[in-house]
């Protein structure tokens, strides 16, 4: 620590010279969590292209997963409404890109935008009907949507029946990398922003006791719906990037196991936190890349066991548990 400190100070002095004084003050006011996440994102943006291709490609996948984790965090983490069927937005975004690219010949960027818009619209349609339901009823109502979507796309000739829409877009990893980076950065910033101030307090009140929150004048329905629409939009856009990444979209994009992975990431990381989804994405994805070659089922079993133990014994996930037991660390784990 004593050795590290002068270096750290010198780095800070350097950054003081780079940024004008008042800007540095603003960055410092963000707090350590936002600074840390901002630093991670900045490093990702700068060092990405110089990394070996294998790692670069893996980072794209990581950022797709992280975007999904932040997306489900916006609704399930923030409000406690378990969205079991979140994969419906992923599949919808993927099919939007696949259809747009194949039939209308649009650029993949436009496909990603289309995926995001369709995801948000679908979330609006589902949310208007189902967000009035609480607890398990909401979980069930959202659970059936990807199953229905799976059967609908499997039976629609324009969407390739059961065989999906394979695409031939070439090797565009650079564009994919910065598209998903931008999405992730926007989503992290949004997540950070909605946990602050009046809105953040309102959301926290809504999660603890919805009736009480309504009684003190928080427009509960509107907050839930807006969060759900944003969540669906980001999941759809990231789903489109995923379809671009794997050069195709198939009915299996609506596989429920995907939903479960998304949910596992925020449960492990810590629901409703700013840092949790990022930690969860790292913890879920890194072993995945190692274990997939040795024992493909080992990882989901490990995830399942961790989810059970965390749900029963440490319901706050990693971030929530640290906040609970180490009050001094709260500044660093938001």
């Amino acid at each position: 620590m004593t050795i590290l400190r002068p270096t750290f100070l010198r780095l800070r002095a350097m950054s003081l010279r780079i940024l004008p004084g008042h800007a540095w003050g603003k960055v410092r006011a963000l707090g350590p969590t936002a600074q840390g996440l901002g630093l991670v994102l900045a490093v990702l943006a700068v060092v990405g292209p110089v990394l070996p291709v294998a790692i670069f490609v893996l980072l794209i996948l990581f950022m797709i997963y992280a975007t999904w984790a932040y997306s489900i965090n916006l609704i399930t983490g923030m409000t406690g409404y378990v969205s079991f069927g979140h994969v419906v937005f992923v599949g919808t975004g993927g099919y939007a890109l696949g259809y747009g690219v194949k039939v209308w010949n649009i650029a993949p960027f436009a496909g990603v935008a289309l995926g995001g818009v369709l995801g948000a619209v679908l979330a609006l349609v589902i949310g208007v009907v189902t967000l009035r339901l609480r607890g398990a009823y909401f979980a069930i109502a959202t659970l059936v949507t990807p199953l229905a979507a799976f059967y609908i796309v499997s039976g629609t000739p324009a969407l390739g029946d059961g065989s999906g829409l394979p695409m031939n877009l070439g090797f565009q990893i650079g564009s994919q990398y910065y598209t998903i980076w931008a999405l992730l950065a926007a989503e992290v910033a949004l997540t950070w922003w909605v946990t602050r101030g009046r809105l953040g307090l309102g959301i926290r009140a809504l999660r603890e006791d919805e009736d009480a929150a309504r009684a003190v004048g928080i427009s509960v329905s509107r907050v839930k719906l807006i969060l759900y629409i944003l969540s669906g939009g980001f999941a759809g856009a990231a789903g489109a990037v995923f379809a671009w990444y794997v050069s195709g979209v198939f009915p299996d994009s609506f596989n429920l196991l995907f939903s479960l992975t998304m949910l596992a990431m925020i449960i492990i990381g810590g629901m409703g936190t700013v840092l949790g989804p990022m930690l969860g994405a790292v913890i879920v994805l890194i072993p995945h890349q190692i274990l997939i070659r040795i024992l493909p089922q080992g990882e989901p079993i490990a995830i399942g066991v961790s989810v059970i133990l965390i749900a029963l014994f440490l319901p706050g996930g990693i971030v929530g548990t640290i906040r609970q037991y180490v009050p001094d660390a709260r500044r660093y784990f938001e």
Binding site: G80, V82, F84, I126, V129, T130, R132, L133, R134, G135, A136, Y137, A139, I140, A141, L143, V144, T145, L147, A148, A149, Y151, I152, S154, G155, L256, L257, L260, L263, A264, I267, L295, Q297, P300, I301, I303, G304, V305, S306, V307, I308, A311, L312, P315
Partner: protein
């Protein structure tokens, strides 16, 4: 336009399938209705019941009807263990089961479902396995109905009838219903909340796994570790349709979904029929959240 005969045949098949669906959903309904929390791993216990029937058939040539008895016995034990492992910590000492408990158990049992699916893949591979059971057909007024379907349909009906008698005529059954209506009042009447909830969960699991054995007759594509991912949502839809905690609701919901699936297939592609059977839950939840039964 489809012939009337085809529609009638689908109606008969749909009702028989609906009975089996009802038996499977009945287990979920009982647990959900009594403990007020949902078992998200419900489908995986259907899957275990189906594999139980498959292995009993392979080893001793038992038909699904006999296998269901063994499955039910296993289910009773597994259910009690499940209660103490997953629900007890969250439910003990509480007179009101709040949303927080619902969330915790939903998430924990969802973890269990992830574990069980993948253990199933390791143990039995992903390839579908068929079960040899074909007692022939019966001709009813020019309509040939497979006897296997008739037997399991009637057995499912029997299970639901027995559970109804049990819940309304026995002391333990009354205690379970009392607990499901008002935990505090049930405790004051001398009901031990833990043992009543544990037994109800065990009975729910027994019905779920027996239903899984019955379902093998209808799994023409074979049993895979993934069957739970289709039939759990169907069970959820059925319970919501019939109304949580209403014991005849499972039957009404099951037959509705069975008939919907089979009759729609006469008019639209099979995929659309399945999509409709899943989506029907959303208008029901929006318009009649307590189910279609009064």
């Amino acid at each position: 336009m489809a012939e009337v005969g085809t529609v009638v045949a689908s109606l008969v098949y749909g009702v028989l399938l609906g009975f089996v669906f009802a038996a499977i959903a009945h287990g979920l309904n009982l647990i959900w209705g009594v403990t007020k929390v949902v078992n998200a791993a419900h489908g995986e216990f259907i899957m275990l019941g189906a594999y139980g029937a498959y292995f009993l058939n392979l080893a001793w040539g038992l038909d699904p009807l006999l296998a269901s008895v063994v499955d039910a016995g296993l289910g009773l034990a597994v259910g009690v263990v499940f209660y103490f492992a997953f629900l007890y910590r969250e439910l003990r000492g509480k007179d009101e089961i709040g949303l927080q408990s619902e969330l915790v158990t939903l998430v924990a049992t969802f973890g269990l479902s992830l574990v069980l699916v993948n253990v199933g893949i390791i143990a039995w591979k992903g390839d579908p396995r068929g079960l040899r059971y074909n007692p022939g057909n019966i001709v009813l007024g020019g309509l040939s109905v497979p006897l296997g379907g008739v037997y399991v349909g009637l057995a499912s009906l029997g299970i639901i009838a027995i559970s109804h008698v049990f819940l309304s005529r026995t002391y333990l059954g009354n205690a379970i219903r009392a607990y499901s209506q008002d935990i505090a009042a049930a405790k004051l009447m001398g009901v031990n909340p833990t043992s009543v909830a544990a037994i109800a969960t065990g009975i729910g699991f027994a019905m779920t796994m027996a239903g899984g054995a019955f379902l093998t007759v209808y799994l023409r594509a074979g049993i895979t570790p993934f069957v739970g991912l289709t039939y759990a949502p169907i069970s959820f839809v059925i319970v919501v349709l019939g109304g949580r905690g209403k014991m005849w609701g499972s039957l009404v919901g099951g037959v509705t979904i069975g008939v919907l699936l089979d009759v729609l297939q006469v008019f639209v592609p099979v995929e659309i029929a399945y999509a409709a059977a899943f989506l029907v839950v959303i208008p029901v939840l929006a318009l009649a959240p307590e189910g279609i039964l009064r």
